[in-house]
């Protein structure tokens, strides 16, 4: 996925760096929203935060994180947060792994 973005980058704009930077800017807020959503059982907040994080994670190639978000979004839309739905801790842990990978990528 990141390769696709890198192909879009014609070298002058530093697109990849911009994308990663945008990701790092928006992700912590969204993770916070997710946690507050779980704590307060706020399905609406969960749905929106999961959707946005899913979308941006997909764009940076964080496939597993995007999948976690998709499952949360689907459950929140249905209004049933069952035991198989990933929780905030699991999402945070995955994000840390993505961050490490992206930082490494950005440094290339």
């Amino acid at each position: 996925m990141l390769d696709a973005i890198r192909q879009l980058d014609d070298g002058s704009t530093g697109l990849l760096g911009q994308v990663i930077q945008l990701y790092f800017q928006s992700a912590p807020g969204l993770l916070g929203d997710l946690r507050r959503g779980f704590d307060g059982q706020d399905h609406e907040l969960l749905k929106r935060a999961a959707h946005t994080l899913k979308s941006s994670s997909g764009n940076v190639g964080a496939v597993r994180l995007a999948d976690l978000c998709r499952r949360i979004e689907t459950a929140a839309r249905a209004g049933t947060l069952g035991p198989d739905v990933p929780r905030a801790d699991e999402v945070d842990a995955e994000f840390e792994r993505v961050r490490a990978a992206l930082e490494a990528e950005a440094a290339k």
Partner: protein, 718 residues
């Protein structure tokens, strides 16, 4: 044809997403492919930017706070500025529901996230190409429609297999129907076609289906408001693989204005621009038509040529403006005079097989020359009568420009078949006769044929001779006795006028009475008869003969407006005759003419003491109720009922009934025209009071009548 491309070379995209990263990536992708990109952060902003940026495509995220993508798309489609812009919606991959929804709100296509960036630009390009093709199609359709609209050309299709009819917008327009209000069908189309053209059109369509050929035609369409429009119609049909007709295509083109132009051209070609009357061309064609009709049906007709006298002088001294006004006024008066003529107008309307146009019988040939077509003439005198009337009418002043203008005309008449066998010679000869009328000093009419002129002249001289006859006392009275059948005594006499002309000898009343009536001379003649009959009767009375009443026939004209009462009073005063010995004979039709004034006249006469008789009874209205109202003394049975008595059972019954009826009204009954003994016997048997006829005596001179009076009793001369 290569039209210059209007507008920008680069395509413009509007990216609508609340996610900055998405906008960034999409922009990056599209800019690399040569797009100019605009971004909107939310739905509201997108709606505001569409009219400003006029994008070639909108990429629209579904999930956005407040106004989501569906709402934006929906609103965009309702706005004319955004209705046709392709919208590519960005949806979740597995979310079929949102994909369906995207199409429902009018999205052109969707692309699911996560977006495969390498593909996005191709998708967008594809959508743009498809949209351009759509737009081109719509544009072609619109320009076709515009072309059809300009040409007033409508098309319609009939799918026979499905029995479906499709009309183009222009077809609806031509038919005057609203596309939303009706369902196109062959029946509806035919309903619009004027009744006269419907049958033939149906036949033509049937022929088209069977033979494959259609006779192009102009059909008339009857609009809702009753107006007629003309439409040129063409049709052809297509065959399916098996060779049967499956499809019919037709065009109709509104050619109403063309038709009107044609009529205008026709008008210019056939009518005179100054007077609006038919011109020479039209007139000659009309003469031709009437001529062939007259040939087939053995009719006579006349061509009248009328030229305004000294019109050139008016034109030269007062100018063409005044001259033209006078021409228009004269043309109008000529047409009105012709229309007012009962015989002509009636014949024109009822008997002329050439339709309403046939009434157009007044034409302006050129300059100040008019021509009239006189059809269905019963007698050439009718033509002379019209000519006289025209001369009279044209002598009346014309109010032009605030003053009164006076003009006379000269008229020439040519009659078919006497004066010409073809249109040209009739018109030429009428013109020649008109010139002859000019030579005769203008303000008169002349027939082309000299023999006609002679007869007309005879009539004219008859008139002047009649006037002289009064002065020269050439009239005289003969008397026919009225006899009481039972006694054979003379109880009365009828005065009958005779004219002894110094050169012609005795002139028959049938020859001069009609002329006297036509010219009004009948009034002074009638006055003379009243005076003379009264004088003669009083003379016999003074000679010692027994009293008898003398009957005088009163002319219709005299009775209605001729000062009859004064004339009777004068006759009685001058003669000294007992009014009871004067009897006035009037006819039924005279009484019926105007009942109120008639009653007044009759009662005035009755007050003077004269006797009143109704003449020729049984030939007119024979209304008993009317008879009761009039102060009558005597009823004369018309000779037609007497003639075949007593053999004719019907006449016998009528005579008997009249006698009985008259007696019930206390009227004396006189039978005239009694010539045979059987008639006398029958009348006597049924109580007829008085008889008159050759059986006793023909009308005789006063001298001979005195001889009859000397006899004690008048015997039948059988």
């Amino acid at each position: 044809m290569n039209l210059p491309r209007v507008g920008r070379l680069l395509h413009t995209a509007l990216i609508v997403d609340d996610d900055t990263m998405m906008r960034l990536l999409i922009r990056q992708t599209l800019e690399r492919s040569g797009f100019v990109c605009h971004e909107a952060h939310n739905g509201q902003m997108a709606l505001e930017m569409v009219p400003l940026t006029q994008p070639d495509i909108v990429l629209l995220d579904v999930v956005m706070p407040e106004l989501d993508g569906y709402a934006v798309c929906e609103r965009l489609r309702r706005d004319p500025a955004g209705a046709l812009i392709p919208v590519l919606m960005l949806t979740g991959l597995e979310d079929t529901e949102s994909i369906n929804r995207a199409y429902e709100v009018g999205a052109t296509d969707f692309i699911s996230k996560p977006i495969t960036w390498g593909v996005l630009a191709h998708r967008v390009r594809y959508i743009l190409r498809a949209s351009a093709a759509f737009r081109e199609l719509a544009k072609n359709q619109a320009s076709l429609e515009l072309a059809q609209r300009i040409a007033r050309l409508g098309s319609w299709e009939w799918d026979l297999a499905r029995n479906e009819v499709h009309w183009s917008a222009q077809t609806f327009r031509i038919l005057g129907l609203e596309p939303d209000a009706v369902t196109p069908s062959l029946e509806l189309f035919l309903e619009r076609v004027d009744q006269a053209d419907r049958g033939p059109l149906k036949e033509a369509l049937t022929r088209l289906l069977s033979s494959g050929t259609f006779d192009g035609r102009v059909i008339r369409l009857r609009m809702e408001d009753g107006n007629l429009r003309h439409a040129q119609m063409q049709a052809l049909c297509s065959l399916d693989a098996s060779g049967t007709v499956c499809h019919l295509s037709a065009t109709i083109q509104d050619v109403t204005e063309l038709k009107e132009a044609e009529q205008q051209i026709r008008y210019l070609a056939y009518y005179d621009a100054v007077t609006g009357l038919p011109n020479r061309q039209f007139f000659m064609e009309r003469v031709q038509q009437v001529l062939s009709h007259a040939r087939r049906h053995n009719r006579q007709f006349g061509v009248l040529s009328l030229d305004l006298d000294q019109f050139k002088r008016i034109n030269d001294s007062l100018g063409h403006g005044v001259g033209n006004q006078l021409l228009v006024a004269a043309g109008k008066r000529i047409a009105e005079t012709l229309r007012a003529d009962d015989t002509i107008a009636l014949n024109e309307r009822d008997a002329n097989p050439l339709g309403p146009q046939a009434q157009e019988t007044v034409a302006r040939l050129d300059g100040d020359e008019f021509s009239l077509l006189l059809t269905e003439l019963a007698h050439f005198h009718d033509a002379a009568k019209i000519a006289r009337r025209l001369l009279e009418e044209l002598r009346r002043p014309f109010p032009i420009d605030g003053t009164e203008m006076f003009i006379t005309a000269s008229i020439g008449l040519a009659l078919y078949p006497l004066d010409g066998e073809d249109a040209e010679s009739l018109v030429k000869n009428a013109g020649a006769a008109m010139h002859f009328a000019k030579e005769q000093g203008r303000d008169n009419y002349q027939f082309y044929s000299r023999a006609m002129n002679a007869t007309a002249l005879e009539k004219l001289s008859m008139e002047s001779q009649l006037r002289k006859a009064l002065e020269r006392e050439e009239f005289l009275l003969h008397y026919q006795p009225k006899v009481q059948p039972s006694t054979g005594r003379i109880v009365g006499l009828e005065a009958l006028i005779r004219w002894r002309h110094p050169e012609l000898g005795m002139v028959a009343p049938a020859q001069f009475i009609p002329v006297a009536e036509e010219t009004g001379l009948i009034v002074p003649v009638g006055e003379w008869v009243l005076r003379e009959a009264s004088r003669q009767n009083q003379k016999w009375r003074s000679q010692g003969f027994p009293p008898m009443h003398v009957a005088v026939n009163i002319a219709s004209l005299h009775f209605r407006h001729g000062g009859l009462i004064e004339a009777v009073a004068r006759a009685l005063r001058e003669s000294g005759l007992d009014p009871a010995l004067l009897e006035l004979e009037v006819t039924e039709s005279m009484l019926m003419h105007s009942v109120d004034t008639t009653l007044e006249t009759l009662f005035s006469l009755k007050d003077m003491g004269v006797r009143l008789a109704i003449d020729d009874f049984g030939t007119g209205y024979s209304s008993l109720s009317y008879l009761k109202r009039f102060p009558l003394d005597t009823l004369k049975i018309d000779r037609s009922f007497i003639k075949d008595l007593p053999r004719d059972a019907e006449d016998a019954a009528i005579a008997r009934a009249i006698i009985a009826m008259a007696h019930s009204l206390k009227l004396a009954v006189v039978a005239e025209g009694v010539e045979a003994a059987e008639q006398l016997a029958f009348l006597q048997q049924h109580g007829c009071d008085v008889v008159q006829g050759y059986l006793f005596s023909r009308p005789v001179s006063p001298e001979d009548f005195a001889t009859l009076l000397a006899r004690p009793q008048l015997k039948a001369v059988v």
